[in-house]
């Protein structure tokens, strides 16, 4: 058997049709790119179910309420030879950013899980079910989860099993339980295991007393132990003789919904950065000066998508949005701050999505062919980057050479705002308090040199008495 190598993105401006390498699992159809346009084929094997779902009235109702990505029918001619026997072609709006569940904070994964269950509950009332329950089918518009896979919706026949149950548990329930039972964030484990956390693995961690809850017993313990069943007779019997009545299905979905909605992170104390603004050397005037600088920068350059690296609870993302940015994607490594940021985005209905990121170890290209789930760099489409109070943590906290830090930041977006925090600042003093100062090059002069090698400095301003300084830069156009 030969395996076709995934098609690589060539020239993004060209209108040549190329298959999206992450879309191959469901033979019912797949995603294609035509230039910047996102197209979805429906193959003959899925056509009957597709028609049935269209006639159920479910789709417009979900789209109208922002739960499902909109779709328009297009001519198959758009695909040319790539159409390959498809019966329908749909076009979806292109999303500003694709995030992966291992980058989501707890609250985002929880919101996505609830959307997945709500979709099932609504669908089943109209005689529709979903063929899977993968978290990768959900993306975020601000803090609002959005389902993006139209082809997951299939005809429901009473008695059918919930085929996505195992996937739902592995990709939503178990990662959420990890944090709510043990206080362990799901991100690292999930990233190393992109299909999620197995029931048997989670079950092995549970203390005995935890196993007696009915929900844990059925969804985690029993599922985990029965998964090991190797009996082919049992498998055959299951495949041919059994049915799962609709009321039991609905009860199961509702039970999971109530359970997941009630989950909270089991963190014993506030995380390092959760009360950052209250505790540290920030003064109100300093924060205000920074906000004004960011607002002026955004107002002047009008970036559509802003990436806020080290976003904390999102103050500067909010400033960017208020000054005209269309969307802000925030990144931070502190779970407590991320949870607060996500709650803030949700309550204030902001176009702001905070995500987990360790700057020194961003999500890599992984999955099948190492192109199925793209790394952070490959998804970078920011118009501007903000990096406030960040550089010293990487350069001093993680020993990354200053030039490399500046190089990485300036490659993320054509322009941005970056803050330099000098050694005299109390935060840097703290960073160096227990270790030798092996950073003779860490000073403003060298920082400016590094920045000027890659970009033009268009504005700068001192924002604190300790010598913190903001720089607005514009990358030299590539010749």
């Amino acid at each position: 058997m030969t395996v076709q190598a995934p098609l690589e993105a060539t020239d993004p401006d060209s209108s040549a049709v190329r298959a999206e390498p992450g879309s191959f699992r469901d033979p019912g159809g797949r995603i294609y790119w035509s230039g910047e346009r996102v197209l979805r084929t429906v193959m003959p094997s899925a056509a009957e179910d597709f028609d049935y779902v269209e006639s159920s009235g479910l789709i417009p109702s979900l789209v109208e309420r922002g739960m499902l990505i909109p779709q328009t029918h297009q001519s198959l001619e758009l695909l040319g030879e790539a159409a390959n026997g498809a019966v329908y072609l749909l076009e979806h709006p292109r999303l500003d950013f694709i995030s992966h569940p291992y980058e989501w904070p707890f609250r985002a994964l929880q919101a996505a899980a609830l959307l997945q269950l709500d979709l099932y509950l609504e669908a089943i009332e109209r005689g529709v079910t979903l063929s899977d329950a993968t978290a990768y089918n959900i993306q975020f518009d601000g803090a609002r989860p959005l389902f993006i896979d139209r082809l997951s919706f299939r005809r429901y026949v009473d008695g059918q099993f919930w085929l996505g149950h195992r996937q739902f548990c592995e990709q939503f329930l178990n990662p959420l339980l990890l944090r709510s039972m043990f206080g362990i964030p799901h991100n690292a484990w999930y990233r190393g295991s992109p299909e999620g956390i197995g029931a048997a693995e989670l079950s092995a961690l549970l203390p005995l007393r935890r196993k007696f809850s009915w929900r844990v017993l059925t969804n985690v313990v029993m599922q985990g132990s029965l998964q090991q069943t190797r009996s082919s007779d049992a498998r055959k019997a299951v495949a041919s003789k059994l049915r799962f009545p609709k009321p039991a299905f609905v009860r199961m979905l509702r039970g999971l919904r109530t359970w997941i909605e009630s989950l909270h992170p089991a963190d014993r104390r506030p995380s390092t950065w959760q009360d950052y603004a209250g505790r540290n050397s920030y003064r109100d005037t300093e924060a205000e000066a920074k906000r004004k600088f960011v607002a002026r920068f955004v107002g002047e350059h009008r970036p559509g998508i802003v990436w806020d690296i080290g976003c904390n609870t999102g103050d500067y993302s909010v400033a960017a949005l208020q000054s005209g940015a269309r969307r802000a994607i925030g990144f931070d490594f502190d779970q407590g701050a991320l949870d607060l940021a996500f709650d803030r985005a949700r309550t204030e209905r902001l176009a702001f999505l905070p995500l987990f990121l360790d700057v020194t170890n961003p999500a890599p290209d992984q999955g099948w062919g190492q192109v199925e789930r793209r790394g952070l760099q490959a998804r970078a489409r920011a118009d501007a980057v903000l990096a406030l109070a960040l550089v010293h943590h990487i350069a001093i906290g993680k020993n990354v050479p200053l030039a490399a830090v500046v190089s990485w930041l300036t490659e993320l977006a054509p322009r941005g705002v970056v803050e330099f925090v000098p050694k005299s600042d109390p935060m840097v003093v703290e960073l160096l308090s227990l270790r030798e100062d092996i950073f003779p090059d860490y000073n403003e002069e060298h920082f400016v040199q590094c920045l000027q090698q890659r970009a033009r400095i268009v504005a700068s301003e001192a924002v604190s008495a300790s010598g913190r300084k903001l720089f607005a830069f514009e990358r030299a156009p590539v010749i």
Partner: protein, 83 residues
């Protein structure tokens, strides 16, 4: 022991649910998940059966407790009906 318990669960699952439903899908639902769902379907079935008969069970015990007076009542009412 574990094997035996599993066998019992599988047997129960098969006994408690009867006919098949078409399901063609690209996703492997996993043996564990299917067996858990069969078990839940069985539990739901059992709950339905119990609730169906619960009334009768309650009535049976209620009758047991009230039976002497009920007999008298019934006797007197049949007498009055007959008059």
């Amino acid at each position: 022991m574990v094997q035996r318990r599993r066998a019992v669960v599988i047997w129960l699952a098969i006994q408690l649910t009867i006919f098949s439903a078409a399901a063609h899908a690209y996703l492997d639902p996993g043996t564990g998940s299917i067996l858990v769902q069969s078990f839940l379907a069985g539990v739901a079935g059992a709950v339905a059966v119990v609730s169906l008969y619960w009334r009768r069970v309650k009535d049976f015990f209620a009758n047991l407790r009230k039976s002497p007076r009920d007999t008298r009542d019934r006797a007197s009412s049949s007498r009055s009906d007959g008059s």
